[in-house]
């Protein structure tokens, strides 16, 4: 599967204080919505991801509800976080 540059960039290193928009699948619009809901950093979304026990269905559902992410966006975001977790957790 072809992964985006953003995905590779994010997965390549610890996320540190990266903003939520650095997540794959989260662009300007979704990033804005997430920030409005308090998810201003990537690690906050990671927290939600972990709280949902890395469950794909639940996380994507949550992302959809929270910021109206499309199927592709939520899939990208999920894949990005899961891969990051596989690498750094």
């Amino acid at each position: 599967m072809m992964t985006s540059q953003k995905h590779r960039d994010f997965v390549a290193e610890p996320m540190g204080e990266k903003p939520v928009r650095s997540l794959a699948g989260i662009g300007e619009v979704l990033g804005k919505k997430l920030e409005d809901k308090g998810f201003d950093k990537a690690y906050v979304v990671l927290g939600q991801f972990l709280v949902l026990k890395k469950d794909e269905d639940l996380f994507r559902e949550w992302l959809k509800d929270t910021c109206g992410a499309s199927a592709k966006q939520s899939r990208d975001c999920f894949g990005c976080l899961r891969e990051w977790c596989d690498a750094f957790l």
Partner: protein
């Protein structure tokens, strides 16, 4: 009403989910085999959705009773905790009952769930639930009404009913019920039905609803609600029962209102009942409101129901059973709730509407009755009974009477049976009437419930109740899908039948044809014989005799030949002796005519059906004595033989025909395939060619883009693939060229090492891009620098840099080449050619020698005279050749001859070997005037 319950159930599921506590949510998710994380504010919605989905999935297959039962029990236990100890015990009993009943009634589940919805909210939520429930009902009801004319009637009659009296009101209710019934059939959710009912009610009397809400506080109103429920039930019953049910309902209502008042006041009470009923609808909510405890109970039950939506029916019964007790203790509210639920169920039971409705009514009645039992509601049950039985007898008929009626009802309508018993049970505590009798009726009722009615309901509504609309839709879809298949099968069978018919028709025709010819031949014989010439000579009696013998002989021979044809005998003909013997057997007189007959046959010469054959081969026989055998020309065959032969013939011909067709078809197919393959090949070839064209174009674009990037550093060194495509293919062709383009892209990815495919983010969007990775410099050198070309004049010649006149006829030219860089054996010829071309206007050059070993790149030239040498000097000196500045010196002739002795004899001017002047191409383009200037 049942519909309402179902609809409510659906709505309830959602609302119920909302009100689940975190712990409940967690435990329920666990039950579905999920291990949820912490339920927090942010995760809760997600889990709720998941739970809902899981529930829906679970409902698809038949409900899983055990789990649901457990849930119910748990919920019930919770409820019990809320309740007093005594109540809890009752509820537990109910639970047991429920478990027993659970298997049977799936349909009830929806209703129960709906009820649960209403009941579930606590006192605080009650108002919300009511309103929501009422609204939903109203909304849903409108669409559902159409199915039953009753629905329309309900809406229309509702208003009049109010004015007219309880009976009319009942009618309105009944219409609601009918709607509910219709709706299940329509696959509409029970809730709709309920809603429809509500709407009709609401449409008729919106005010009453308000009253009901307001009224909760008043006990009378509460009772009324129950009564109202009772009325509804009657109404539901009325469909089967008729007016009686309606009447009964009003009575019930009245009774409820009166708090166990006498049945005699029914007429007067009816109006009240109507009011009560109206109020009662709202009442569901309102009832609950007044009795917080009851509400709690109902809520818990409802929750259970909601949870067990699929198992709703069992719950239903359970609820009804359970509720009555709690209701007794608490009052009417729960009963009302349950009553609604049962109604839907009853309504839905199309096959046994009466019984189902009865059951529903029973449940409801129980509720009210029970409630009445606790309070003044006892009366209501009785009226209901009356309604069922259509007997307006006093409210508190003796137990026996009621029992009888019940039994009657049971016989006629199973559902009603149940009601009476329940009523009894409910009423027993409160009213003196029932007393001992109640227990047995109850049992009966239970049995009835569990009986066919329930099962029927299950069958019809199991799925519908749980997920009515979706299931129905799916079923519809399936049916739609299946129908085409059926059609095709139908057509296939029709086709086969037609083919078989055709086949046998052909067979029959063939057979008939063969037989027809046979018959005609026979006739021909008979016709021919009489008109024969020789025949006239014979005397009349002998003529008859001979004809008879001939006929017999003909038949006999035909039979023999037929047997032979059919394979029954080896012999095809009879010998003369055999024939004679045969004729002798027939009669001595025939034997005498035999010879004459033979003679006649021979002389006749025509085909009479008998052929005489001699010993020899085929020569004509003229003498009787020569005849050895007789043979029939028209074999006579039996029917079966004929049939078999016809069949074989037809089959044979058909087979041949088929083979021929197959052959033709095969040839055609082969041609088609060939053409297609050819077409395919050409197309593929064409595509491949286009693909390579495209690849070349792409590479050109990328290369030029790369060049542009070298000059303009602002440009990105890569190009998005879609952009390349759009720049190469005009919009109208893009669709057509898509395949070609895709192949070209694949080709580039696989076989083009100078292009790299990668992902780049451009303008915030990820693009697949191409990057040209071949370094630009090396390529430029190779391509741009031509070899062995005159490149122009470095300076103008004047006195300072050239001698004024030519001194000798010999020249030494330097810097023409670098021996290290030259490749091959014949490069010196190219240099020679270049000099001759440069001096093309000079025809005095007689000798050129390239010193291949000189590191200065020296070339020696000898001209005819010093003048020519001067011309050559001017043409060559100071020119750029192959990137080097050429210089020329005069050389003394003797030294030249000393070095190149062979030049002594050279006096023929040399000319360029061709007219292309390749080495001058650059010069002509760039500095075409330099030569003329130099030469002048």
């Amino acid at each position: 009403m049942a519909a309402a319950a179902a609809a409510a159930a659906a709505a309830a599921a959602a609302s119920a989910a909302q009100q689940l506590s975190d712990e409940e949510l967690f435990s329920q998710l666990r039950r579905y085999g999920l291990s949820p994380g912490p339920v927090t504010e942010s995760t809760r919605p997600v889990y709720l959705k998941k739970l809902k989905k899981l529930r829906e999935e679970e409902q698809q297959p038949p409900p899983a009773p055990p789990q649901e039962q457990q849930q119910q029990q748990q919920q019930q236990q919770q409820q019990q905790q809320h309740r007093t100890g005594g109540r809890s015990a009752k509820t537990r009993n109910n639970n047991n009952n429920n478990t027993a009943a659970v298997g049977a009634p799936p349909g009830a589940g929806a209703a129960a769930a709906a009820a649960g919805m209403g009941g579930r909210p606590l006192s605080g939520d009650l108002s919300y639930l009511r309103t929501s429930g009422a609204l939903s009902r109203g909304l849903a009801s409108a669409p559902d009404n159409p199915p039953g004319a009753a629905a329309a009637a309900a809406g229309a009659t509702a208003a009049p009913a109010l004015a007219a009296g309880g009976s009319k009101v009942l009618l309105g209710f009944s219409s609601d019920e009918s709607d509910a019934e219709a709706s299940p059939r329509d696959q509409a959710s029970g809730g709709r039905k309920e809603r429809a009912a509500l709407q009709s009610r609401g449409g008729a009397k919106p005010a009453p609803l308000a009253d009901g809400e307001a009224g909760p506080g008043q006990p009378a109103e509460r009772r009324k609600p129950h009564a109202w429920w009772g009325a509804r039930r009657p109404a539901s019953a009325p469909e089967p029962l008729g007016a009686a049910g309606r009447e009964g309902a009003p009575e019930d209502a009245e009774e409820g209102g009166d708090g166990g008042g006498g049945g005699g006041g029914g007429g007067e009470r009816e109006p009240e009942g109507e009011e009560l009923r109206w109020t009662s609808r709202p009442v569901n909510g309102s009832r609950l409101l007044p009795f917080s405890c009851r509400e709690n109970y109902s809520d818990s039950e409802e929750e259970e129901e909601q949870d067990n939506v699929a198992v709703a029916r069992p719950l239903f019964r359970d609820d009804s059973l359970l509720r009555p007790r709690p209701r007794r203790s608490h009052g009417k509210p729960p009963a009302g709730v349950r009553g609604e639920a049962p109604h839907p169920a009853t309504a839905t039971a199309g096959g046994c509407p009466g019984s189902d409705r009865a059951a529903g009514s029973l449940d409801r009645r129980r509720g009210p009755e029970e409630g009445g039992g606790c309070d003044p509601l006892d009366c209501s049950p009785i009226p209901r009974y009356r309604l069922n039985s259509k007997k307006p007898t006093p409210l508190l008929p003796d137990g026996d009477l009621t029992l009888d009626r019940k039994t009657n009802n049971h016989i006629g309508r199973g559902g009603f049976h149940l009601d009476p018993p329940r009523v009894y049970a409910n009423s027993i505590p409160h009213s003196s009437l029932v007393a001992s009798a109640s227990s047995s009726p109850l049992g009966i009722n239970h049995s009835n419930h569990t009986g066919s009615n329930h099962t029927y309901l299950k069958n019809t509504y199991q799925q519908k109740l749980s997920e009515p609309e979706e299931e129905l839709l799916q079923q519809f879809k399936r049916e739609e899908v299946s129908t085409p298949g059926g059609f095709s099968a139908h057509y296939l069978s029709m086709f086969l039948l037609t083919a078989a018919c055709l086949f046998f028709l052909i067979l029959g025709l063939t057979y008939l044809g063969m037989r027809g010819t046979g018959v005609s031949e026979d006739r021909a014989l008979s016709v021919k014989s009489p008109f024969d010439e020789t025949f006239e000579k014979i005397q009349a009696n002998e003529k008859n005799l001979m004809m008879n013998s001939l006929y017999k002989l003909h038949d006999r021979l035909a039979q023999v030949a037929g047997d032979h044809e059919c394979g029954n005998s080896i012999q095809r003909r009879l010998s003369v002796q055999e024939v004679a013997a045969y004729l002798k057997d027939l009669g001595p007189e025939y034997e005498d005519v035999f010879n004459m007959s033979l003679q006649w046959i021979l002389e006749n010469g025509k085909d009479v059906g008998i052929r005489c054959i001699g010993n020899g081969s085929s020569e004509d026989l003229t003498n009787i004595t020569d005849v050895q055998f007789l043979q029939s020309t028209r074999p006579q065959m039996s029917f079966w033989c004929r049939f078999r032969r016809a069949f074989v013939t037809v089959t044979h011909r058909l087979l041949l025909l088929c083979l021929l067709l197959l052959l033709c078809f095969g040839v055609v197919m082969a041609c088609v395939v060939l053409h297609y393959v050819k077409y395919h090949w050409t197309k593929e070839e064409e595509e491949t060619r286009q693909m390579y064209d495209m690849v070349i174009k792409i590479i050109d674009v990328l290369r030029s883009h790369n060049d542009a990037c070298q000059e303009n550093k602002d440009l990105q060194p890569y190009m998005p693939i879609p952009h390349v495509r759009d720049s190469l293919i005009p919009p109208p062709d893009r669709k057509k060229m898509k395949k070609v383009w895709d192949r070209a892209v694949d080709f580039l990815a696989a076989d083009e090492s100078r292009v790299r495919t990668e992902t780049q983010r451009i303008g915030g969007v990820d693009f697949l891009v191409w990057r040209w990775i071949q370094p630009a410099a090396s390529r430029d050198k190779i391509l741009v620098v031509p070899s062995k070309v005159w490149q122009g004049q470095a300076f103008h010649l004047d006195r300072r840099n050239s001698p004024p006149n030519s001194l000798t006829p010999c020249l030494k030219i330097r810097n023409m080449f670098d021996p290290v860089m030259e490749i091959g054996d014949h490069w010196h010829l190219a240099i020679q050619e270049a000099i001759l071309e440069k001096c093309s206007d000079n025809d005095g050059i007689v000798h050129i020698a390239v010193d291949r070993n000189s590191c200065e790149g020296c070339v020696y030239v000898k001209c005819l005279s010093p003048e020519y040498a001067g011309k050559a000097f001017k043409a060559l000196h100071g020119s750029w050749f192959d990137g080097k500045l050429v210089t020329v010196k005069y050389l003394r002739l003797d030294r030249y001859h000393h070095r190149f002795p062979q030049a002594l004899t050279c006096n023929v001017p040399l000319k360029p070997s061709n007219k292309h002047m390749n080495s001058m191409s650059h010069l002509r383009l760039q500095t075409g005037t330099a030569n003329s200037q130099g030469s002048s």
